[in-house]
Symmetry: C2
Subunit: 298 residues, 2 copies
């Protein structure tokens, strides 16, 4: 009798879709399914679709289900408090609902923490004692994997590093406060600062970086300040936590040629000498959120 490889189901609640992957501990994918999300889903429609998605994996057995979703969430309660992309969700008891149908352990965390765990397990450069992963996309997300475990903090709110103040009384952030690094270095932050300065609304990050390539001075100013703010946010994480590695992932890293050299040269100046060679900062391959979510069950 051949013993079956253990399989883990991971679900990523993304902006555009619910995506599920069935994988083993090596990250080998056995089945993948996705359902497009609809902005108008309420709690009940969301649950119907999640159940429908999981049912697609009925043919195989899996040892656990892991779910990653944007915050704010309440891990002990297993609920999504609310969601920026799905504004009609409110205090959704996600885990109870799934647990009523599936008798396997169900794990739950925010998407940035799942991204960090995904990197830890499936990026060979990331197997270090203390790993910080920064996801640079629409926003600035962050997760910390210490000794192979996510640092959850209180109810899963640990490492909200995008909402650290790097310019006291600075620019207005999406969170309603001023001076967060996310307001300077994330797609939303760069576009907002550009709009503030020029009154021009760009469609996306690609349009912004096209202006950088064309040496548009306004865009260059915005990017320069963004890089400084970003470098200082990394300095702060290094000075507090001394991780072995900080890995940058996410959509913004596609434009790494336009910013990463300046980040590393900033850090060579502003990080304490004893930590400069210890805490390495690199660009990493983005690991699918559903793989990180599946890894919650490892």
């Amino acid at each position: 009798m051949v013993s079956e490889v253990e399989k883990f189901l991971g679900i990523d609640v993304g902006g555009g879709s619910l995506k599920a992957s069935l994988i083993d501990k090596e990250g080998k994918v056995y089945q993948e399914e996705a359902i497009p999300t609809d902005r108008f889903w309420d709690n009940s429609m969301f649950l119907t679709n999640i159940h429908f998605l999981i049912e697609k994996f009925q043919k195989t057995s899996f040892v656990s289900i892991g779910i990653g979703t944007p915050g704010p969430i309440d891990i002990p309660k297993g609920s999504i408090i609310r969601s920026a992309n799905l504004p009609n969700l409110s205090n959704l008891s996600l885990i109870d609902s799934i647990a009523s149908q599936y008798k396997v352990p169900i794990h739950f965390n925010n998407d940035a923490n799942c991204a960090a765990l995904g990197s830890y397990f499936f990026n060979k450069d990331a197997k270090v004692e203390s790993l910080v992963v920064i996801t640079l996309g629409t926003g600035y997300g962050c997760g910390w994997v210490l000794n192979g475990k996510i640092f959850n903090g209180y109810l899963g709110n640990g490492m909200e590093a995008g909402h650290q103040t790097v310019i006291t009384n600075g620019a207005l952030c999406g969170c309603g406060q001023r001076g967060c690094v996310e307001a300077y270095f994330s797609t939303r932050g760069l576009l907002e600062r550009f709009r503030e300065k020029t009154n021009i609304s760009l469609s996306d990050g690609k349009a912004f970086f096209k202006l950088i390539e064309r040496k548009d001075e306004d865009a260059q100013d915005i990017l320069s300040l963004g890089i400084e703010a970003f470098s200082n946010s990394i300095r702060n994480i290094i000075h507090l936590l001394n991780p072995n590695k900080i890995i940058l992932v996410g959509g913004l890293t596609k434009s790494k040629d336009l910013f990463f050299d300046r980040v590393t040269s900033d850090l060579d100046q502003i990080v304490f000498p004893v930590l400069r060679s210890h805490s390495k900062v690199i660009i990493g391959e983005s690991i699918a959120g559903s793989l990180g979510a599946a890894a919650l069950g490892f």
Copy 2:
């Protein structure tokens, strides 16, 4: 036969003296000794005096020796890399020297970490799962006690929260970089910013807060910016680590009536709602550094 209470020796390497306390686990002090330090001590004179100090405790037996000293230190090597107050010290192998004479476990950490551990064990309000202690004196020190253990980071350099940037490209800090919170809210920071603005060198923090009481406008401006920078540094610690409690100790807290209400009202505005009631910020009684150092052996 009455079993003897276990006793722990703790030594604090302070700016003005080497202070040693012999205590039990309850913090009861059995003997205390001090030797004034001399700015001109080199490695060998420092070691002579440390040995002389420990010899004063020869009449009692103790189960461990703990030593707290300002950074930068190298915990695995047990050495003081250098010392701002004792500039002639350099790469001093402190622990090896003591271990050659005393056959008890010897523990070593930086003074801010010892202050955090001292608060954890000897301040009844501090017994929480995740405790951050900020020491506000000449500088801005910080330590994090998680599940009863100091978070050391790399070689003991964890939680250098005084050197987190809260104003990118801001004022020059004693560390040589710009915009650290210590450059805005510590005795040295407040005096430096005041000198920069007015060309007047004040002798100490007391003189600065006397000006505040007299409603000196320059001093008030400096303090206001300092409070904003400080509140944002606490915001950052809360957003990253979600501690149950942050305790402020040290000389500056004697002037708490002149700043603490504004810190708490700032935090009510700028901290994420879910963390406002979770992460409490209070002023705490300062625990002697030698008690915190002794607690390294618990």
